[in-house]
Amino acid sequence: MTSTGNAVPLSAHAFTRSVFTKTLHDNRRIFTVWALATAALAMLYAAYYPQVSANTAAKIPDALRGFGLSDTADAAGYLQGAVFGLLVPLLATFYGAATGARMISADEDSGYLDLVLAHPVSRTRLLLQRYAALAAGGVAIAAAVLLAMLAVRSGAHLGAVSVTGFAAQAVHLALLMLLFGALGTALGAATGRPRATVFGVTAAIGVASYALNGFAPQIGADGLRYATPFHYYIGTHPLTEGFQPLPILTMAAATAVLLAVGAWRFDRRDLGR
């Protein structure tokens, strides 16, 4: 046995002061990869705009109009369809589902939650601190996407979309991740189901509501779109309309409700093993 004491570097200690900072620290690599990958993909697609606009023959089938894949001729329309209408929101949904499923379920599966919750940390506090880390990750991803867009804005002839438009779109993107993150976190907290189940259900709800938002006009159920987060995320056209209180508040409110219900159930159930 060698001497004990300061074997642990101080920098590590700084990150282990609260559940929030520890969760951030534990996820720093994953969040970085998500941010870089999402931003890189968005940038790649956005940079493709000059070719698409030159080749306006791009015909969009009527069936796909609901997804926003129209008006490829102008910059906002292209971005709303190819970049912020398909790839990025699906990535955001998976970020929320995958990260949300890890916030409570994964540690309950392993038994680690027993240890933390035997400490002076209330269940609600644990849930909120874990979620805050997820939210910080989501904001970082959205910020990376925004920076990527601003970087290619002039080079890819996207100047028709204002910086405010991009910023509003990034805020909607962050809120979408926060919403699905809250769904995954709340599902795990409320049910105590295994991580894989929570991820699967959250992702399935995400994909189904994405499809519903896209196909609703086709099946004559336009009203249903308002029940999906994707309507508020993209159907309110943040790229051209900028910041609007309604979609922002709706997504934020839905997130708060999910978290509140999750915390309420979490506080009332047995922890599993």
Binding site: M1, T4, A7, Y112, L115
Partner: protein, 299 residues
């Protein structure tokens, strides 16, 4: 306050899946402040169930729990501040080093002097720089022990604390428990093994199938145990002279050798034996372990 833990008619039915499973069945038990309390029972008896109820990790189906005068559910945060808990299967974050893990858990408690953590780690022979994932079961258990003891809690709740520890470390652990008692802390520890609890516990409870089978001081339990007697005579003796003696059970005569159990005073047996020539005499108190086995097995 003289009662550290007070369980009244505590019942826990697990309802996951279709079949409801009885984890505890009307358990009433009280642990005094300042004592070391051993909680024994066979696999599946309900020890971990009781302990997780004490910590508000699960909630009772019926009955009440008071710990340190607090309601585990309503006063969870306040209670956890004053309790040190070691789970039956201690799980920590494998990515952290032992030192990081302990620093994090200490931070959740508002801080514990690093010297205190270092002293406990050193005593148990735990290397704080080792990654938890890479630790052996016993060394991981040491991390669990350090985190339970480090903040000198009023109450230590330890679920099979010695599992995986080598005999030397087990002894160190027992010393730590004895010191905790000297310092006025209460210790509630579960185990499968009587001998380990016997060494430190003031009182012992034995549960089986969610019910209390016995609760008493170790001395009283020992007093309940039988004397095992073996007498060698110079010549064969008639069985009839010994069979009806008060307190004598399990009598066996094998030529010139008599063996039996004696409950209570051995006076009558000795006087009966003295009528013959006794060439050998041996009397042992029944092992507490054996007594304990009989509690385990009793239907």
């Amino acid at each position: 306050m003289t009662t550290a833990i007070e369980l009244t008619e505590l019942t826990k039915t697990y309802s996951r899946g279709r079949a409801a499973r009885r984890g505890l069945d009307g358990l009433t038990l009280s642990v005094r402040a300042g004592e070391v309390f051993g909680y024994l029972g066979p696999n599946g008896a309900g020890k971990s169930t009781t302990i997780r109820l004490l910590l508000d990790l699960i909630r009772p189906t019926s009955g009440t729990v008071r710990v340190l005068g607090l309601d585990p559910r309503r006063d969870a945060v306040e209670l956890h501040r004053r309790v040190g808990y070691l789970a039956g299967d201690f799980v920590a974050d494998g990515r952290q080093s032992a030192g990081e893990c302990l620093a994090f858990l200490a931070a959740l408690r508002g801080g514990v002097p690093a010297a205190r953590i270092g002293e406990l780690a050193e005593r148990l022979g735990l290397d704080p720089s080792a990654r938890i994932r890479s630790l052996s079961k016993g060394n991981r258990q040491k991390v669990g022990l350090v985190q339970a003891f480090m903040h000198r809690p009023d109450l230590l709740i330890l679920d099979e604390p010695t599992s995986g520890l080598d005999p030397l470390v087990q002894q160190t652990f027992l010393d730590m428990v004895a010191e905790a008692r000297t310092a006025g802390q209460t210790v509630f520890m579960s185990s499968h093994i009587m001998s380990e609890v016997e060494a430190v516990a003031d009182r012992v409870a034995i549960i089986r199938e969610g019910r209390l089978v016995a609760a008493d001081t170790v001395a009283a339990l020992r007093a309940r145990s039988l004397l095992e007697v073996r007498i060698d005579f110079a010549a064969p003796v008639p069985e009839a002279e010994f069979a009806a003696l008060p307190g004598v059970t399990g009598l066996r005569l094998d030529g010139t050798t008599l063996t039996c159990h004696v409950d209570g005073a051995p006076d009558a047996l000795l006087k009966a034996a003295a009528r013959h020539t006794v060439i050998g005499l041996r009397a042992d108190t029944q092992d507490l372990e054996e007594l304990f086995q009989s509690y385990y097995a009793a239907a």
